[in-house]
């Protein structure tokens, strides 16, 4: 498949009064990519998506969708986009079938093409049971899927989904994620979420934005590597004093810090953090050799955690990053 930049966001900025909701962000999304858009509430995710879909004009910068500038040439750009806005709005006075029919017609679909498109979307989103029900009588999950069905009716090249799994139950979440992953093979998809596990489940790449700026951009594995936990070793031994374990571990040249997580019933659990320049696996080998004299109950390398990266990148700078990492790991254990 030809690789192309379907979405190109260039120094996009949005000012609301003097507040910079989105502050000069740039990124591209290629066909076949699923980009996860992460950030705390109010970071500028929805504003960015609204600019990409042409709902609000940018204060500066530009968005190109399929080669069309969204601000200059909105109609052909909008034709390529399917959009699920935040909170999944739908006309409450219409039936699901009526709503989808309207959406199909406004997308220029007529006759058999329209029927097929609606049937396909209804099937993908499992909407048959509520097809002739009025939208305002639907449960939140069905309503969400109705709006989602609207966004995929015309089989768009670009999908922009603002919190597509918000308010769904775990089964529905799983379904929607599967749907996004499957469609991601042939489309360029951007979706925003608060749920970090979704990034691993669905995304090929993730962007973290905070206060209108991109603070991280990479594959989920890349992001995880930014974590202090990445490459750390969790070790549990028994029959040795905590101080002895700790002082021994500090003798390893790759060790940056040793945290004692637990010390009771003569069993000690520690976490050894590597120095930033330590090569993969080096610390694990060293700890393994050192621990041979002890009774090992657990020896486990850590992958690094997205939630920790997320927190360290998006929390106000007043808290030192290492403290955050520490607390996060203490809570998890």
């Amino acid at each position: 498949m030809r690789v192309e930049n379907v979405i190109q966001v260039d120094h996009l900025t949005k000012l609301f009064g003097v507040r910079r909701a989105v502050d000069g962000i740039s990124f591209t999304v290629e066909r076949g990519e699923v980009l996860g858009f992460l950030g705390p509430n109010g970071a500028g995710k929805s504003t960015t998506m609204r600019m990409i879909t042409g709902f609000i004009p940018p204060s500066a910068g530009s968005v190109m969708v399929g080669g069309f500038d969204v601000a200059e040439n909105p109609i052909p750009a909008k034709r390529m986009i399917g959009y699920l806005p935040e909170n999944a709005p739908a006309y409450t006075d219409m039936t699901v079938a009526g709503f989808l029919n309207f959406a199909a017609e406004i997308r220029g679909l007529r006759g058999d093409k329209k029927k097929q498109a609606i049937a396909r979307a209804v099937e993908m989103c499992s909407l048959e049971p509520v097809l002739h029900q009025s939208v305002d009588t639907l449960s939140k999950g069905y309503r969400h899927r109705t709006c989602f069905a609207q966004s995929i009716l015309h089989d768009p090249d670009v999908l922009v989904l603002d919190e597509p799994t918000d308010g769904l139950d775990p089964n529905q979440k799983h379904e929607v994620r599967g749907l996004i992953r499957r469609m991601g093979a042939t489309k360029a998809i951007i979706f925003s979420t608060h749920i970090l596990e979704e990034v691993d489940a669905v995304c090929s790449r993730a962007i973290i934005i905070d206060r209108g700026k991109i603070v991280a951009n990479g594959t989920p594995a890349d992001l995880r590597r930014k974590s202090e936990m990445a490459g750390a070793i969790t070790l549990r031994v028994s029959g040795v004093a905590a101080a002895a374990v700790s002082s021994k571990l500090y003798q390893i040249p790759q060790t940056k810090r040793v945290n004692v997580l637990e010390d009771k019933n003569k069993s000690v659990m520690v976490c050894v953090y590597p120095k930033p320049n330590a090569a993969d696996g080096e610390l694990l080998r060293a700890v393994g050799e050192l621990a041979q004299g002890w009774r090992i109950e657990l020896l486990q390398p850590e992958e690094g955690r997205l939630d920790e990266v997320f927190r360290s990148l998006t929390l106000p700078d007043t808290e030192p990053k290492s403290a955050i990492g520490h607390r996060a790991s203490a809570i998890q254990k």
Binding site: L15, F16, P57, P85, P89, R107
Partner: protein, 248 residues
């Protein structure tokens, strides 16, 4: 043409929305009740002994519309903004203009339907005497154009707010100003304050003065132009307001 197809699609949805809610039925029933009561009881239709509709029937229309048309127009944009469907509509491959015209046309057609349902009055007057049906037709045309002007003003106020009630109140007040501007006592009052040319300029913006010609059966292009330009101007203002919201 695709522009027309888009307008039609938007209008069709909007018109459907009137009839899935009780609004359409309540509106039509009340409009017909009011027309009937005012024509036959207060208007003295039978006492007049004239086969004409101007005085007993059309004369009330500016006052009915004052309250009824803002009630029809108040939901047009306020509801879309409140529910969030505006975001959906304006990210579809249509222009803002197509959406505005489509929604306006739907409501205007709805008003045309309500107006057309007053046909028993026309039948009655034809049964009882020999009216000039040209004059009656002209009255209907004028009434519909005037309803369009009221509606377009309601579009502006509806685009200004998320709350339908606020939209309703503001548009009633605006329409009342436009209505009263041409009425005798108001003109007299104004002439104490302004120069005669200013007063006549204000009075010429009144719906009543322009509608009066239609009632008499005079189809003056200036009156048609007046109502059409109020509509176009108001829809343009609606577009400006919507763009303003999106700018943030």
């Amino acid at each position: 043409m695709s522009a027309w197809a888009n307008i039609k699609t938007v209008a069709k949805r909007e018109l459907g929305a009137y009839f899935t809610s009780p609004l359409a039925y309540v509106f039509i029933v009340i409009f017909l009740l009011l027309s009937g009561t005012f024509t036959f009881l207060l208007g003295g239709f039978f006492e007049r002994g004239q086969a004409a509709l101007a005085a007993p029937f059309f004369i009330w229309h500016p006052w009915f519309y004052l309250f009824l048309v803002p009630a029809v127009g108040m939901r047009l944009w306020a509801e879309e903004r409140r529910v969030g469907t505006l975001e959906l509509l304006l990210t579809m491959p249509i222009t803002t203009w197509q959406a505005i015209v489509g929604k306006f046309l739907a409501s205007w057609l709805f008003l045309a339907l309500a107006l057309a349902l007053t046909f028993p009055v026309v039948i009655t007057v034809n049964y009882l005497g020999h009216p000039d049906n040209g004059v009656i037709f002209c009255g209907y045309l004028g009434s519909w154009l005037m309803a369009g002007a009221y509606l377009a003003i309601s579009c502006i106020t509806s685009a200004m707010t998320r709350a339908q009630v606020i939209s309703f109140i503001i548009s009633v007040v605006l329409c009342l100003c436009l209505l009263l501007a041409g009425i005798g006592p108001v003109v007299q009052f104004l002439s104490g304050w302004f120069s005669p040319s200013t007063v006549s300029a204000i009075a010429s913006c009144s719906f009543i003065t322009h509608f009066a010609n239609f009632e008499k059966g005079v189809l003056d292009s200036r009156d048609v132009l007046f109502f059409v330009s109020v509509i176009v101007f108001s829809l343009f203002t609606t577009a400006v307001i919507l763009r303003g919201h999106r700018r943030g």
